[in-house]
Subunit: 510 residues, 2 copies
C-alpha cells in the first residue's frame, strides 16, 4: 500500500506504520473494540477487513462499538463468522440483522447521542482497542478524521490502544471541517455553547495521546456509497405536504422563511423531503442533523442552505466526486461534530430543530415504531431518531401508509413496539396527507390520523376499531385484546386486510 | 378578607384590589385560563373556587392550563360542573380522571418541561387570563410566588390579563428562594447556565407588566397538604435495594459519596426511597427535582442534603409548619424554579441526575407505563417522568411487583402503554429485588427482570411467555397475539393469574 508521510506530522509516530494484518493482530478474542464509522462513512476499511479474513481460520469474538452503521460489508462479514458477541449502538446490515433476530449475537440498540456518556461512565467496560480512520495525524498526535466524527473522539480518549487508518482517498485539506468538542465527565460536564448550527465550539482534530497509538495503516479505499433512491410519487407527495405545512407556519407567523435548523433521518422519504426544499420559497436554511446526505449538497447548490452541521457526510458516488472536486465551495459551510454533540438534547432543544424521521409504523394515537417489524424483529435500530424527536421544536414522522403491496398498513390500532411516544410526535405524514397532532388530546389525534393519514383500504377497519375502543372508554381508548389482531391476521393470512372481520367474530366468542 | 398593603410595593396597583367573585367574573366562557399551581402547591385558592361557585348557575367551559396538579379540589369541582373543555398538562384528581376517561373532557397529558415551549410557539392559542398566587408584588410589578413556580413565569409573560392572589398565609420572607430564569423564544433560546443544583441563574420574582394586572385578591388559605404514606415493608425493601446499589456504585468508583443530584417523582415508593437516604453513608447530597417533599426536609435535618432545587414545596401539614417555623435554616438551601428549567433536558443531562420514578407497570424488556391503567384509562399523567428518565445519568424506576392483592402483576410480558422505552430505563426495582439493565440487550434484560423483579406468583407464567417468544425469534421476542392475554384474563376473571393457562390453550387453536 502506498504511503504518504506528509500525512503524519508527528515524526515520532512514523515508526508505528505497519500493515493491516499486523495491526489487526493486536485485536484478540474477548476484546472490546471500538471503530470509527457513522452511517457507512469514515469507517475502518483495512484493519477490520483484515480481522475478518483472520477470523475465517482463527475464531474470535469481540464486542464491536461504533458511531453508527459501517460500510464495506464489515458487519456482515464479521457477524457471519461469529466474530461479534455484542454490537452497539447501531447497524443497518441485512445479514447482521438476521443473526441478531435469531439471537446469535447480542445487539444493544442505543440512542446515538448516549453511547459516549455510557462509555464514560463505564457501562460497557474498558475499550481495549480503537480503530480510527484519519486523513492525517498532527504534530501533537491529534487525529484529523475523514468523512465522519461519530464517537471517534471519545474512543480516542478512552481506548487503551489506538490504530489509525490514514485514508489517502480523502484529500488532506478536509482538515478544518471537524469541530471536536468534548462534553466532559460527570459531575463536571460542560455547557455545550452552540447557539447556531454554524458556530464552531471545538478544535479541528481529535486529541490523542500519541503513546497510545499502537499502529498506523495506510489505505485508499473509498467510503461505501449511500444508496440514493430517486423521489417517486409517494415520497414527492409526502414532501409537498410538509412543504405546504411549513409554508402555512410561516404565513401564520410561527416561523420565518429561514425556518429553524432542519434534521432529516435516514430512509428514502426523509431524503426526498429535504430534496423538495430546493424548489421552495424558503431561504437561508440551516441543517443541524446527523447525516449530511446528497440532498444537503443539492440544497447548497440551489442556494437554499447557508450551513450544515452533522456527524458524517454519507453520499452517493457521484455526489462524493462533486463535493471534493468543488471543495472550496463547501468547506466553510460544513461542520462535522461528535455524535454526542450533534445529538445532544441540550443543543437540539436550544436550537429548536425541525426533525423529520421515518417511521416503520404509527398508531391511532401517534405512537411511532422506528425499529421493530411486527414488534419483535429489528430492522436497523432507533438511531438518532429519539434524540431528535424528544428535543426538537417540531417532530415530524413520515411513512408510506402501507407496504408490501398494501398487505400491511403502516397505520395500525396500536404499534407493536414504541420508540417514540405520542408526546414526541407532532406531525404525521403519509402520501394520504398530513395530520397536525399538536395541541390535541389522544381521541382528537385519532380522528386527525384517521382523516388524513390512513390508506383508504384500511380506513374503515381502523375507524371500526376506534369506535369499539371508545365504547370501552379511557384517555386512550383501545380494545386491548384486539389491539394486535392485525399482526395476527398478517401472520395467518399474509395480509392485514380481508380476513380481519372473520377473526374478529371468532374472537368475540371468547 | 383581611388585606395587607405592605405586600403590594407598586402603589399604582392598590386600586386593583378586588374580591374573588369580581375577579372571577373576568373569566368568560371559551377562554384559555392559566393558573399557578404545581402538585397542589401555590395554586389559585380564591378565584378558581369563586369561578366554580359561579359555574353552578352560570355554565361555562374553559381551557385550564397549570403547572401541574391543583389542590383545593379545584379540578374536581370544575370538572364535575362541566366547566372545563380542555385540561393540561397534568392532573391527579380522582373525579377529573373519571371524566377524562369517559371522554367528557379533553386532557392533554404533557411532559411538564414542554408546556412553556408549546405556549410560546402558539400551540394552545393565546392565554386570556392567568391567575397567579403570590406572596407579594414588587415595585416594578413583578410577582414573588409562593410555594411553587411551575409555569407561572411564562403565564405572566404571555397572558393578556393577570389576576394576582396574594396569599397571606405564606410569610412574605419566602422572597429570595425563587430563581426565575426565562428560557427565551426560538430562534434565540438562551443557554440555561446551571452547572450545579444550587446555582442561582435568574431573578427572585416573576417579571410582569403591571398594566396587565386586572385584579388583586387577598386570601389566606393554605396549600392542600401532601398525603404522606409512612414507609412500609415493601417500600423499605425497595429503598434498601437502591441504597445498596448506589453504595456498590460508589465502591466501584463510578460515583462519589455525594452521588449526583437526586430527583424523586411522586408516588409513595419514591418518597420512601428518599427517606432511606437519611440513615445512609452518603453525604453532601443535592436534589435537582420537581417536587420537594417531606423527605427533602428530613434529609436537610439529617445533615445529608446540602441543597435542593425544585419547582414546588409540597409537604404534609406538620412539615409545612416545621419549615416556616425554621425558615432561616432552610431558605438558603432551596431554589424554586420554572418547570421548563427544573425539567430542562439541557440541565438534567448536564448535571447527570439520578432519577427515581414510579411505574404503574413494566415489561420483560424494561419498557415502562407510568400513566395508563390497562393501556387505556389514565391515572395521572406522564408528569415530569420522561423529562428526567430520558436525560438523567441513571434512570431508576420503582414499583411493587403486584397490586390489588396479587391479582395484578406489575411486571407483564408487554406493557399496555409505553411512556418510557427500554432506552430510558436503567434500573428496575421491586420489593423482589433490583435489575441493573445497563449494558444489556433485550433478551438479557428479560432474564435480569425475571430473576430479580417479578413476583413469585407470576414468575413461571412470565418465563413461559419468554421461552415461547424466544422460539419465534427477534431482537425483542414476543408472541404478539398473546402479549396482552394477561389483561384479557384480568378482565374476564378478575385476576391475571390462574385462568391464564386455560385461555392460552383455547387461543392455541386459532
Ligand atoms: C424506519 C426505517 C427502517 C425506514 O427506512 P426506509 O428506507 O424508508 O424503509 P422502507 O419504508 O423502504 O421499509 C424498509 C423495508 O421494511 C418493510 N416495512 C416497512 N414498514 C413495515 C411494517 N410496518 N411492517 C412490515 N414491514 C415493513 C418495507 O416493506 C421494506 O421492505 P422491502 O425492503 O422488502 O421492500 C429507517 O428510517 C430507520 O432505520 N429508522 C430508524 C433510525 C432513524 O430514524 N434514524 C434517524 C436519525 S439518522
Ligand atoms: C405511577 C403512579 C400513579 C404511582 O403512584 P403511587 O401512589 O405509588 O401508586 P400506587 O402504586 O399506590 O397505585 C395507585 C393505584 O393504582 C393501582 N395500580 C397500580 N398499578 C396498576 C396496574 N398495573 N394495573 C392496575 N391498577 C394498578 C393501585 O392498585 C392503586 O390502586 P388503589 O388506589 O385502588 O390501591 C405515580 O407515580 C404517577 O402518577 N406517576 C406519573 C407521573 C410521574 O412519574 N411524575 C414524576 C415526576 S413528578
Amino acid at each position: 500500500m502506498k504511503q504518504d508521510l506528509s500525512r503524519i506530522a508527528n515524526t515520532g509516530l512514523i515508526s508505528k506504520i505497519t500493515n493491516e494484518n499486523d495491526a489487526a493482530s493486536l485485536i484478540q478474542d474477548g476484546m472490546v473494540v471500538a471503530s470509527s464509522g457513522f452511517t457507512k462513512s469514515g469507517d475502518s476499511k483495512a484493519v477490520l477487513l483484515a480481522l475478518s479474513q483472520r477470523a475465517e481460520f482463527d475464531p474470535l469474538k469481540i464486542t464491536l462499538i461504533t458511531g453508527a452503521s459501517l460500510g464495506q460489508q464489515t458487519d456482515a462479514r464479521l457477524a457471519t463468522l461469529g466474530a461479534i458477541s455484542l454490537r452497539l449502538p447501531f447497524q443497518a446490515d441485512a445479514v447482521m440483522r438476521t443473526l441478531i433476530n435469531e439471537g446469535q449475537l447480542m445487539y444493544i440498540d442505543e440512542n446515538l447521542g448516549e453511547t459516549a456518556m455510557h462509555l464514560k461512565t463505564g457501562v460497557f467496560g474498558d475499550i481495549d482497542i480503537a480503530v480510527i480512520e484519519a486523513s492525517s495525524i498532527k504534530e501533537d498526535g491529534s487525529i484529523v478524521p475523514t468523512t465522519s466524527v461519530g464517537n471517534s473522539a471519545i474512543f480516542a480518549a478512552l481506548a487503551k490502544q489506538i490504530i489509525v487508518e490514514i485514508n489517502l482517498s480523502v484529500p488532506a485539506d478536509i482538515e478544518g471541517i471537524h469541530d471536536i468538542f468534548l462534553t466532559g465527565k460527570y459531575p463536571d460536564k460542560a455547557v455545550i455553547p452552540i447557539t447556531s448550527a454554524g458556530q464552531r465550539v471545538g478544535r479541528s482534530s481529535i486529541p490523542c495521546n500519541p503513546e497510545k497509538i499502537a499502529g498506523i495503516v495506510f489505505t485508499d479505499k473509498k467510503d461505501s456509497p449511500a444508496d440514493i433512491l430517486a423521489p417517486d410519487k409517494t415520497t414527492e407527495k409526502i414532501a409537498s405536504c410538509i412543504l405546504e405545512f411549513l409554508g402555512n407556519e410561516v404565513r401564520a407567523g410561527r416561523l420565518t422563511k429561514a425556518l429553524l435548523p432542519l434534521q432529516a433521518g435516514i430512509g428514502k422519504v426523509a431524503n426526498a423531503v429535504l430534496q423538495g426544499f430546493a424548489a421552495s420559497d424558503f431561504e437561508h436554511l440551516t441543517i443541524y442533523s446527523e447525516v449530511l446526505q446528497d440532498s444537503t449538497f443539492d440544497l447548497f447548490d440551489a442556494g437554499k442552505v447557508d450551513f450544515a452541521s452533522g456527524s458524517s457526510i454519507t453520499v452517493s458516488e457521484s455526489c462524493y466526486q462533486h463535493i471534493f472536486n468543488n471543495w472550496e465551495k463547501y468547506k466553510d459551510k460544513i461542520l462535522l461534530r461528535p455524535q454526542d454533540v450533534t445529538n445532544a438534547a441540550e443543543v437540539i432543544s436550544r436550537l429548536g430543530v425541525i426533525a423529520i424521521n421515518t417511521a416503520l409504523e404509527c398508531d391511532l394515537y401517534g405512537n411511532v415504531n422506528s425499529s421493530h417489524i411486527a414488534g419483535t424483529h429489528i430492522m436497523n435500530g432507533i438511531g438518532g431518531s429519539a434524540d431528535f424527536a424528544q428535543n426538537s421544536y417540531l417532530s415530524i414522522f413520515v411513512t408510506e401508509s402501507t407496504c408490501k403491496g398494501n398487505t400491511i398498513s403502516r397505520i395500525v390500532p396500536m404499534v407493536s413496539h414504541v420508540d417514540h411516544s405520542e408526546h414526541d410526535v407532532d406531525i404525521l405524514v403519509t402520501e394520504q396527507g398530513l395530520a397536525d397532532l399538536r395541541g390535541l388530546a389522544p381521541r382528537q389525534k385519532a380522528k386527525a390520523i384517521l382523516q388524513n393519514c390512513v390508506h383508504p383500504a384500511y380506513r374503515d377497519m381502523l375507524e371500526e376499531y376506534f369506535m369499539e375502543a371508545c365504547k370501552r372508554g379511557g384517555q386512550t381508548p383501545h380494545v386491548i385484546e384486539k389491539a394486535f389482531d392485525w399482526y395476527k391476521d398478517l401472520r395467518l393470512t399474509g395480509s392485514m386486510k380481508r380476513q380481519h372481520s372473520i377473526q374478529e367474530s371468532s374472537l368475540d366468542k371468547l
